[in-house]
Assembly symmetry: C2
Homo-oligomer: 325 residues x 2
């Protein structure tokens, strides 16, 4: 593995002594890093008795929870080393939306390793879960309800509630698109527009998320947006989180300081996922001639790229939204 691989750590848990809880003899490996990686490992450890040394070859449940830019190298390093009957789950937020179609991380893992991959998303800021404050999440699965139930059991603790939904694409896309809505919400905060406006913008965003997901995958279900990965994650991200925060600063500066500059100052050079995602979303919509149906997404990108002032978030989103999508 390259440079990136050195930053991830792995933990595994053999819950053979705890069959009733997971329902079958399994070895779980958490392939992760960062605060979310640590918290995920803690949740999994609660449901398994023995933490032992790590051998990917033995694991039949693989939990991926790395920053999204590391997943390429990690997958490449695992090719040929994973049991063919293993199941994976991705907790990684931030797939790429390419013009030829979205590149879901779950699909990428699945294709690279030749195994099925579910996803876990939701309103779960890592630091609050670390404090064992009540949180929840959504597991998106493809076909096999039993596998979904196993993931639910693996992650559920007295303070962490997990709900399965048969909609892997909808659940995974929510985890990325919410960052675009958070940028819009941050603009509203920076413009001091008030609660009504912010709620309206969040609602427009949630609707556009739903329509965009359905545009890409006709299988996506409306009900997914009532799950933790949908409305709840949008709320936490629009009231906390760094996408909202930097967007607020951008609007307070009247768009005169670029996102690049603010990211360098406020995030020590890390990039905002929302800015990247909305550029990709914009390209997809432009390519398909559908920009007019997604006024909020389009306007967020036009503001981020300096083509429109921050105040356009209301004027444009409203004008185009007078007749619902």
């Amino acid at each position: 593995m390259g440079d990136t691989a050195t930053t991830h750590h792995t933990k595994s848990a053999n819950n053979g002594a705890n069959d009733n809880q997971i329902g079958f003899k399994s070895r779980v490996s958490v392939i992760g890093s960062g605060s979310w990686g640590s918290v995920a490992a803690k949740l999994v450890a609660f449901n398994t008795l023995n933490l032992s040394s790590f051998h990917v070859e033995d694991a039949n449940m693989l939990v991926f929870v790395t920053p999204h830019q590391f997943i390429d190298n990690i997958c490449k390093s695992l090719v040929g080393k994973v049991r063919s009957d293993a199941e994976a789950i991705s907790l990684i937020k931030g797939m790429e939306v390419k013009i030829e179609g979205p590149c879901l991380i779950s699909t990428y893992i699945s294709e690279q390793l030749g195994i099925n991959c579910s996803v876990l998303m939701g309103a779960n800021l890592a630091n609050e879960i670390a404090e064992e404050k009540f949180s929840e999440a959504t597991v998106g699965y493809r076909n096999n309800r039993e596998i979904a139930e196993q993931w639910v059991q693996l992650f559920t603790t007295p303070y962490f509630m997990v709900t399965p939904v048969q909609d892997v694409e909808g659940v995974e896309l929510c985890g990325t698109l919410k960052n675009v809505v958070a940028i819009a919400a941050g603009f509203v905060d920076g413009l001091d527009m008030g609660n009504n406006t912010k709620a309206a913008i969040i609602r427009f965003g949630l609707r556009e998320m739903r329509e965009f997901c359905k545009l890409l995958f006709s299988s996506v279900k409306d009900d997914t947006f009532f799950e933790s990965c949908g409305v709840a994650d949008v709320i936490t991200t629009c009231f906390g989180g760094r996408n909202r925060k930097v967007a607020e600063a951008f609007a307070r500066n009247g768009g005169k300081r670029s996102f690049d500059e603010l990211e360098a100052e406020m995030l020590q050079g890390q990039k905002l996922q929302g800015v990247t995602t909305v550029r990709e979303v914009y390209e997809v919509l432009r390519h398909r001639g559908l920009l007019e149906l997604f006024p909020l997404f389009a306007t967020v990108h036009e503001i981020c790229s300096g083509c429109l002032p921050p105040s356009a978030i209301v004027i444009y989103s409203e004008k185009k939204n007078i007749f619902p999508v």
Copy 2:
């Protein structure tokens, strides 16, 4: 009219000179009081040219926007004085939920005056609309789309966006039930549970709102909860508003000071709608043997009435919600 009637004021607008905007010659009367009444009159006035003296007999569009406890006397005073072809719209939040069924204010107006009644609800804190900050609302109508479009045109301004939905019951019930969710959110705030928990509780609340509405009226549409009256109004009410505020104080005091006491101190003796509504909702659910399917609503009432401590909001809502409604 009795004492209450003296507190309401009326405004009317003859928009004969402005036919194109409303689409037909109409006389609009706003029967209202309070800050929301004033703001509603301002919105209507924007779309009509001449404010003139008020004669109910002449009006064919009646806008009701009074505190809900006044509507009985107002309707009684209007019996026999309203044109039979008049159309009404209620902006009043706070119908009663009786065991024999909910008593919607739109239905009450309709039955008392023998005219059709639509509703207008949404994420619209009056003071922010008064400042002309962008807000939106949902018009719930029964059958006639043309009437809905007329109400939309009457209320729409550059800073106020209105969307019609054919679901009068769903829209009206949202305007009342959101206050119950706001009390739950206030408890979470008072317990310092954090963003994840609050988002989870808001989501549980939104789902129970939807299920409760569908239980009472099978015609209620899922999509109504994606409108301003649904998710957006729930967000504004759970982050602002007095139901949330008093519930937060209740939780901070560990439930040792009653809602009666806090209302007297914080609201100058006014009563919280959410506390009344959730008691009514609880009775309906108990009567139908459905309390277990609505753990959040049930727990909010049990906390408000002193049967459970504020901390129960998470423990109970979560336990019962492990398997989705």
